[in-house]
Assembly symmetry: C2
Homo-oligomer: 96 residues x 2
Amino acid sequence: MQKRSIQRGRPAGATTYEAEPAKAFGAAVRALRMEHSVAQEDLANLAGIERSHLGKIERGTHMPTLALILKIARALGCSAADLMVETESRLAASVS
Amino acid sequence: MQKRSIQRGRPAGATTYEAEPAKAFGAAVRALRMEHSVAQEDLANLAGIERSHLGKIERGTHMPTLALILKIARALGCSAADLMVETESRLAASVS
């Protein structure tokens, strides 16, 4: 059997993924999308991303970057600040 | 000379990094930090990140994720929505 070398870095299974903010953001995006009655496919096209990517974001399994937040906000016809207000109120509700 | 194999994926040097949003966010963070007269080191500690990481964010060479935006906003004593308002106004000014 081959001897395993010592590997530097984080141990297997270690994660710093914070699900809560991603989930709150995803729920905010989904709610705003439903409000406008826009299909996931159409919103993804407007934002210039893949539908599957948007799906992951709405489910909270993908942490969006600032660039993506801005793109999705534009596609939803609102500002990123509006999207953050929605996200933070959901986050506050989930914490308390 | 060794023959180079065909590599799948994006060509070398290809990038989708969008510097504008990252720079606008960085400038907003720096401006708010200066307003509160907080040292980079102290703000990084409050946000629970490395000082060098915060430095990269302020210079716009690192794209922040949603989780990071929330952490930095909390450390600055404002909401992520406030930070987005600042970012978007800077972004609008740089575009026009």
